[in-house]
């Protein structure tokens, strides 16, 4: 029986699942709900402040980790979910999902490096 290469993607899935469990809910709050619901001021999410955060090396690294890992987590789990719903075109589905996650990862890296 051939040794599987699943660990490459599974490592990202599991790491992403853990990171996502800890931070995705609060990220959704901060970037999507806290400002409209006046939990934090609009000033707190101003261009200057967020840009300064993303320009800081630690801020960059944090943003990278909380974006790229959940992206791979979601891509891999969606592949399994598609199979569970009876879609048997596993390889094309996997390619589309992983390419999407890879494009997202590259966009994130290039955006962060420009700031």
């Amino acid at each position: 029986m051939a040794k599987s290469h699943k660990p490459i993607i599974w490592g990202l899935f599991a790491g992403g699942g853990m990171v996502s469990a800890f931070v995705t809910p609060v990220m959704i709050l901060i970037t999507g709900l806290a400002v409209p619901f006046h939990l934090i001021s609009r000033e707190a999410m101003s261009y200057d402040r967020v840009h300064a955060f993303a320009s800081n090396p630690i801020g960059k690294l944090l943003l990278f980790v909380v974006i790229f890992l959940p992206a791979w987590h979601a891509a891999h789990r969606l592949r399994i979910t598609a199979h569970d719903f009876g879609l048997r075109q596993d390889i094309p589905i996997a390619v589309v999902l992983y390419v999407t996650a890879a494009v997202g990862t590259i966009m994130t890296i290039s955006a962060l490096l420009k700031m």
Binding site: G17, M18, S20, A21, F22, V23, T24, P25, V26, M27, I28, L29, I30, T31, G32, L33, A34, V35, P36, L39, I40, S41, R42, A44, M45, Y47, V50, H51, A54, L63, V66, I67, P70, A71, H73, A74, A75, H76, R77, L78, I80, T81, D84, F85, G86, R88, G104, M107, T108, S110, A111, L112, K114, M115
Partner: protein, 130 residues
Amino acid sequence: MMGRKPYIREVSKTTWWLKHPRYMNYMLREVTSLFIGLYTAVAIDGVWRLQQGREAWEHFIAWTFSTEAVFMHIVFLVFAVIHTTTWFNVTPKAMPMHVGDEPLPDAAIIGAHYAGWVVVSVLALLIAGK
């Protein structure tokens, strides 16, 4: 010797998960990935606009005030919380821990994750809101 003729029962590829609440809960957990993925796409869009400049970023923040955006984020949040709870609740299975020779009770492992979650969330909100 009698002839054998084993009978194979077919299992539906598309509706198997409707047969038992246990499977439905599993599918609910799995579909959280769709919403984690969609939110992550929004986050990538946000970082992209931030890099584009002031105007693009202000546009992004203004969009979060729209009814659709608020509705979307509430849905994202609900599924993200389902992801968090379903993920933390199985941590003792994936990562059993020992203190010395004694196994740590499941509740302690799960509880530590929830406590960490609260700390991370409160800290992040405090830092974001300064």
